[in-house]
C-alpha cells in the first residue's frame, strides 16, 4: 500500500486546502429542511454534509425511561453507509455511540428540560458525507434544529475544532489535517452564556499550546454562531421560500 504524504502546510502558513491558519472552511446552514421533523437543519461544513432532525417534547417509550421531574434529551449521531471512503456498516459503531453521548451532553446545558416532565426530546443526526470535524458540524446543525423545533433554549451551542498541524495551531481541522496532523480539539460553546459544553482532544499539545488551541477554537465557535443566527433569522424573519 503506497501512502502519499500530503504536505500539510507551506512555509507561509498556507494549509493543504489553501486556507490560512485562522480561516474556517465554507459553512452553510439551512433551517427547516424536513417536513416530518418538528425542527430540522442541514449543514455543509467543508465537505461535511449533515442533517439534523428534532422531535418532541413527546411521550417517552419505553416508559420506564421517563423522568418525573424533567424532560430528557436523547441524541443519535449516525453515519450513512456512503458517507465515508470505505462503505460503512449501517449498524451504529462504538465511535458513533460515544459521539452521540458527547453531543447530547454538549446540547443539554442549552436546552430547558424542566418544563417538560415525563417527555423526551429526540435529536437525530445523519452524516451524509463526512469530513474532518463532523461532530462539531453535527452539533451546529442539531443546535439550530432544536431552535427550529421551538424548544426553549438558554443559548445556541456553536462548535468548531482547532488543532496542531506542522507545529502550528490552526482553526477548523480538515480531514487530511485530522489524520496526519498532531492534534485535533473539538470544542462546543454556548456563546452568550460563555460555557464550554464539549471539549475533546486527541494528539499532543504543550500546556501553552493547549490554551492557544482552545482560544482558537472558541474564536471559531463564535464565528459559527453568527452563521447559525443568520440561518435562523433568514427562516423566521424573512419570507423563507424553501
Amino acid at each position: 500500500m503506497v501512502k502519499i504524504m500530503t504536505q500539510l502546510m507551506t512555509e507561509d502558513g498556507i494549509r493543504c486546502d489553501g486556507r490560512k491558519l485562522d480561516e474556517l472552511r465554507d459553512i452553510s446552514i439551512k433551517v427547516g429542511v424536513l417536513k416530518n421533523a418538528d425542527g430540522s437543519a442541514y449543514i455543509e461544513f467543508g465537505k461535511n454534509k449533515i442533517l439534523a432532525g428534532v422531535f418532541g417534547p413527546r411521550d417517552v417509550h419505553p416508559k420506564h425511561m421517563a423522568n418525573q421531574d424533567s424532560g430528557i434529551l436523547r441524541c443519535r449521531y449516525h453515519m450513512s453507509p456512503f458517507s465515508v471512503t470505505e462503505r460503512k456498516n449501517p449498524a451504529p459503531s462504538r465511535r458513533e455511540i460515544e459521539i452521540s453521548k458527547v453531543i447530547k451532553e454538549a446540547l443539554q446545558p442549552a436546552v430547558i428540560l424542566k418544563d417538560y416532565p415525563r417527555t423526551v426530546i429526540d435529536v437525530f443526526i445523519e452524516v451524509l458525507q463526512a469530513d474532518g470535524g463532523s461532530r462539531c458540524a453535527a452539533l451546529d446543525a442539531a443546535s439550530v434544529a432544536l431552535a427550529d423545533a421551538g424548544i426553549p433554549m438558554r443559548d445556541l451551542v456553536s462548535a468548531c475544532a482547532a488543532g496542531k498541524v506542522a507545529d502550528r495551531i490552526v482553526l477548523d481541522v480538515n480531514n487530511e489535517e485530522d489524520q496526519e496532523g498532531q492534534a485535533d480539539m473539538p470544542v462546543a460553546l454556548m456563546p452568550n452564556v460563555g460555557k464550554i459544553t464539549l471539549l475533546q482532544l486527541d494528539g499532543m499539545l504543550k500546556p501553552e499550546e493547549f490554551k492557544t488551541c482552545m482560544q482558537t477554537a472558541l474564536i471559531g465557535c463564535r464565528r459559527v454562531y453568527e452563521i447559525q443566527r443568520k440561518a435562523l433569522m433568514e427562516k423566521y424573519f424573512q419570507s423563507g421560500d424553501q
Binding site: 417536513k35 416530518n36 453507509p81 456512503f82 462503505r87 449498524a91
Partner: protein
C-alpha cells in the same frame, strides 16, 4: 384508538372524493406526484442521487469496492441494494435494527433492479471465481411522505446512472486500481417501479402517506425498458381481484414510461 377513528374519518373523506374521480391533493387516480432527481449530491460516493417524490425524499449513495464473488456465482459481480428509513424521516420510526417493513422495502427495491437485469453483472468480473467489483447502493429515506418503494427505487436507479466505476487491471493474478480512469457501469435497461394502492374499488397511483394509512392493499410493479414486467410485490392486509391486477400491470407500464423518460435524461 383515537388515531383509528381519525383514519376512518380520513378514509371516508378520501373515498367520497374518489367517487368523484378526485384525490385529496387534486391529482387524478393514475397521476404521480412531482418527481425531482438531483445526482452527484454526495461527491465522495461513486454515485449518488437525491429524489423528491411529493413529500417523500430519499438520498442514495453508491459505493464501489473490490470484492470476492459469492460461492457458485463466480462469473458475476456483486450488487446489493439496501434501504433505511432514518428516524428523522418519520416521528414513528425508532432507531434500531430494521423491522419487517424496512426489510421488505429494501428487498423490493433490490429485486426491481436485479430482476430487470439493469446491470450486466458479468462485466463486473475481474478474475473469475476470485475477484469482482461490488456495487453497494444504499438508500436513506430522509422524509417519509408515502410510497417509499418508488422513491427508493428511482433514487437507486439514478444513483447507479450517475456512477463512475474505477478501472482495475489484473497484474500477477491480483486486481490493481488504475488511477484516474473510470467508466460508466454496464447498464442494460432502465427499471421503473410503479406502486399503486387500492382504496375500496379504486386503484390509485403513487399513494401519499395519508392514502397509505387507509388503503386496503398495495401493489408494486417494476417494468423494464422493453415493456416487460419483471418484479411484483403485493402488500397490505387485503387483496385484489384478478381484473384489478391486470389493470395495475397496464398502469405500471403506461405510468412507468413517463418516469423512464425522466431517468433517461440522466444517462
Amino acid at each position: 384508538m383515537g388515531s383509528q377513528i381519525l383514519d376512518q374519518l380520513k378514509r371516508g373523506k378520501i373515498l367520497d372524493l374518489l367517487k368523484t374521480g378526485k384525490r385529496i391533493d387534486g391529482r387524478s387516480l393514475d397521476e404521480q406526484r412531482q418527481l425531482t432527481i438531483e445526482t452527484g449530491v454526495i461527491p465522495k460516493a461513486n454515485g449518488s442521487a437525491r429524489v423528491k417524490l411529493g413529500n417523500t425524499e430519499v438520498i442514495t449513495g453508491v459505493k464501489i469496492q473490490l470484492d470476492k464473488p459469492f460461492p457458485d456465482l463466480g462469473d458475476k459481480g456483486i450488487l446489493i441494494c439496501t434501504a433505511e428509513i432514518l428516524p428523522l424521516a418519520d416521528p414513528n420510526v425508532e432507531p434500531g435494527p430494521p423491522n419487517e417493513e424496512v426489510i421488505e422495502l429494501a428487498r423490493v427495491v433490490d429485486r426491481g433492479i436485479r430482476e430487470t437485469e439493469m446491470i450486466d453483472l458479468h462485466k463486473l468480473v475481474l478474475i473469475e471465481n476470485k475477484s469482482v467489483i461490488g456495487m453497494f447502493i444504499d438508500s436513506s429515506v430522509i422524509d417519509s411522505g408515502g410510497n417509499l418503494f418508488d422513491a427508493c427505487s428511482y433514487a437507486s436507479v439514478a444513483g447507479i446512472l450517475s456512477c463512475t466505476v474505477p478501472k482495475y487491471e489484473v497484474k500477477d493474478e491480483a486486481p490493481v486500481l488504475v488511477e484516474g480512469v473510470t467508466s460508466k457501469p454496464p447498464i442494460k435497461t432502465l427499471p421503473v417501479s410503479v406502486t399503486m394502492a387500492r382504496i375500496g374499488d379504486y386503484i390509485i397511483v403513487d399513494p401519499t402517506k395519508d392514502e397509505e394509512s387507509c388503503m386496503d392493499a398495495r401493489i408494486t410493479i417494476t417494468t423494464n425498458s422493453d415493456g416487460n414486467i419483471c418484479a411484483v410485490q403485493k402488500g397490505g392486509s387485503d387483496g385484489f381481484t384478478a381484473e384489478q391486477l391486470i389493470q395495475c400491470s397496464e398502469t405500471a407500464l403506461s405510468v412507468g414510461k413517463k418516469i423512464r423518460k425522466q431517468l433517461e435524461q440522466l444517462m
